[in-house]
């Protein structure tokens, strides 16, 4: 993920001066999306910032892990921010927002409860767009090495000589 150094480290007030707080906790600028705490930011190459923010929220709603910060979801969908993917992605998010408007919301990001967003996702889960986003997340989210420690997963152990002397049988709660 591209993290613009001139955005990262800004205070929340400074960020808000450059963009508008939106939805569940993003700051959407003219050419970037960031966390409201400015812990992460991604500069847009091709997608509209609103579209990226919606995509990040959609990713979290598909695979919600309360322990996993937004930046990992942002990284998981950053691959759609390329010219080849723009048309399909913008159209898909517009479809999502269209369903939200049909239910009386201003947009997908305006919906306050996860269950209401998930209802909308269920209604489009057979669409090619949903399946592409969901399928991409399986590797895009869970194959990020930085995510693994959040789940306790240790990855490779060969470089440390395996677990032969490091707890392959260290379970303590078997009677």
């Amino acid at each position: 993920m591209t993290i613009k150094t001139d955005l990262k480290g800004l205070t929340r007030r400074q960020l808000l001066s450059r963009g508008a707080a939106a939805g569940a906790g993003f700051v959407i600028g003219t050419n970037f999306v960031s966390g409201q705490d400015a812990a992460w930011a991604t500069e847009m190459n091709a997608l509209k910032p609103d579209t990226m923010a919606t995509l990040i929220q959609m990713a979290r709603d598909i695979y919600p892990h309360d322990k996993v910060a937004d930046e990992f979801y942002a990284a998981a969908v950053k691959g759609y921010d390329v010219p080849d993917a723009v048309d399909d992605t913008e159209a898909g998010i517009e479809m999502l927002n269209g369903v939200a408007r049909g239910k009386g919301y201003g947009s997908y990001l305006d919906i306050g409860w996860e269950r209401d967003r998930v209802d909308i996702l269920r209604s489009i889960e057979d669409s090619a767009f949903f399946q592409k986003i969901r399928g991409g997340l399986v590797t895009g989210l869970y194959n990020q090495k930085a995510v693994w420690p959040i789940f306790g997963y240790e990855g490779e152990s060969y470089s440390q000589g395996g677990y032969i002397n490091r707890g392959f049988d260290d379970i303590t709660w078997i009677g």
């Binding site: 194959n143 152990s157 395996g162 032969i164 379970i171 009677g175």
Partner: protein, 523 residues
């Protein structure tokens, strides 16, 4: 003449594939002084090349050429282009296999006799039996260094095994141990002991697990009688006016087509590619494909019924640590129709890394039911079901004439639907697996559907009568006397055991047969 051999050298035996069947056969023949050319579609990777990262390793080793699927199995919906998780590399799927090395039970060689008529199943007895195979099993166990055979001790149990063992024993199961594994519990045959690293499926970086890639293949090459041509993808087998096969046409790594002439051809490309090659070798003389007068080439595809059970506990397990599959419960492997199905199943420990758990736990699943399970990944234990599935004529590998591979050849379509016996057995195994974890205080258990097939069997099956199958008791095709099948596609029935040990034993036995026939001037 010593290797390398000339493409016009018609004294050579050509073997297609270098895995458990082809790789072992190549070495065994080379040791006997037979000239062998092995054609391998994949490249050469050795322990220093293996990558302990699930997706990166998958990209390095897996067979990813296009295939298609059909039938009611869930793999066809969830992984429509990936019916099988098998390897394209020198050493074939012996790089990826878990190492479980079990002999068939005696009754499993005669499934039709012992199970009786099963509606919709195309059961048949093997033309060979346990007594005939016993000495070859012993040779195979010695070659692979199988633990708990000979004087080799078992592997130590990891955390995942300890949960599994304790739960199974609470249910009253007795035949529970760390398996008969082709993974060294102490140094053996120049290979070191298991370091409990995990990643057995990604190629063993220590070489503690047997693979033909770094045992039989280099030993065969050292004799001067074996030439392995890697990145050489076979298109078809050719024959002469007399009907005998006379060579193999393949594409090399630069996309140049060659023909290696041959005295004998042995097909060992696994149960998907082997029938595909035979079907793609159709000619005016063999219009339905080579060795297919019975119409059985590609039919009776079996994959073991499989499935997994994961248990979530309130405390850590860390199932990824240690040997991936060193744990087995064999009390349910007997044939006992009182359970509502014929045949039996093994439960074996299994641990996947987080990336593969996400891909395989509930393919297509999403939302909090899915993610709360992964949130407890560290507290998960896992097991895999390996049970005998029924051969069915309609479960089969065919050519998909609408989809071509990178060489313009029709790809394999793999069609599979569960038999009622398969469903009954899987339901029983799910229930027992969940009970094992419940007995240990699981807060949640997850009966997980089958993954893309790792045990691909039966598409060129062995039969006494040429009408019933493709090859005879020696793996020699009924139709063409100098054409052999040397992999798991020979399997008449699948039994309940992980198949590699039996494939290796059959290859050692076939090498004896081919060498003897060459010596007698019959080939």
């Amino acid at each position: 003449m010593a290797a390398p051999f000339d493409k016009t050298d018609d004294s050579v035996v050509v073997i297609i594939g270098t895995g458990a069947g082809g790789g072992v056969l190549a070495n065994e023949l080379a040791q006997k002084g037979v000239s062998v050319v092995s054609l391998e579609a994949g490249g050469r990777y050795l322990p220093e090349d293996y990558v302990n990262d699930e997706w990166e390793s998958f990209g390095q080793l897996a067979w990813l050429d296009p295939r298609t699927t059909s039938g009611d199995w869930r793999v066809s919906r969830d992984f429509s282009g990936l019916p099988a998780w098998i390897v394209k590399a020198v050493g074939g799927t012996t790089t990826h296999w878990a190492g479980a090395s079990l002999r068939f039970q005696d009754h499993e060689w005669k499934a039709k006799t012992n199970y009786g008529a099963v509606q919709g199943a195309n059961l048949l007895d093997w033309p060979i039996d346990a007594a005939e195979m016993a000495p070859y099993y012993e040779k195979a166990e010695t070659k692979l260094g199988v633990t708990r055979t000979g004087d080799r001790t078992g592997l130590p149990g990891n955390n995942n095994f300890k949960v599994f063992e304790a739960g199974a024993k609470k249910l009253g199961y007795n035949d529970v141990h760390t398996g008969r594994m082709a993974i060294n519990s102490s140094e053996y045959d120049g290979r070191m002991a298991c370091q409990q690293t995990g990643f057995c499926f990604q190629g063993c970086k220590w070489g503690a697990k047997w693979s033909s890639a770094y045992t039989d293949i280099p030993r065969g090459e050292a004799t001067g009688n074996l030439e392995v041509r890697d990145r050489c993808h076979v298109l078809r087998i050719e024959h002469g006016a007399d009907g005998r096969v006379n060579g193999v046409v393949y594409m090399d790594k630069d996309g140049v087509e060659h023909k290696q002439v041959a005295r004998v051809v042995c097909v060992a490309g696994n149960s998907i590619e082997s029938p595909r090659i035979l079907l793609n070798s159709a000619t005016a003389m063999y219009p339905d494909g080579m060795a297919n007068s019975s119409g059985q080439v590609g039919r009776n595809y079996m994959r073991h019924l499989t499935g997994s059970v994961y248990g979530i506990f309130d405390k850590p397990v860390k199932m990824w640590r240690g040997t991936t599959m060193a744990g087995i419960m064999q009390d349910e492997v007997r044939h006992d129709p009182a359970r509502g199905f014929v045949g039996g199943y093994e439960l074996e420990t299994l641990g996947l890394g987080l990336p593969f758990m996400a891909a395989f736990l509930d393919p297509g699943g999403w939302g909090r039911e899915f993610t709360t399970a992964l949130d407890s990944y560290e507290n998960m234990a896992g097991m895999w079901i390996v049970g005998e599935d029924m051969p069915q004529e309609t479960n089969r590998v065919t050519l998909n004439m609408d989809v071509k591979d990178q060489f313009g050849m029709p790809v394999a379509n793999v069609h599979y639907s569960d038999h009622a016996n398969d469903r009954a057995m899987r339901d029983h195994a799910f229930g027992r697996g969940q009970a094992i974890y419940d007995a240990m205080g699981a807060t949640r258990t997850l009966p997980t559907p089958p993954y893309p097939s790792t045990h691909n069997l039966g598409t060129n099956r062995m039969s006494e009568n040429p009408r019933d199958g493709v090859v005879n008791r020696n793996g020699r095709t009924h139709d063409i006397e100098n054409l052999f099948v040397s992999d798991g596609s020979q399997f008449t029935t699948g039994a309940a055991e992980n198949p590699t040990l039996t494939i290796v034993a059959l290859a050692i036995r076939q090498a004896d047969h081919i060498a003897a026939e060459l010596g007698r001037g019959n080939l």
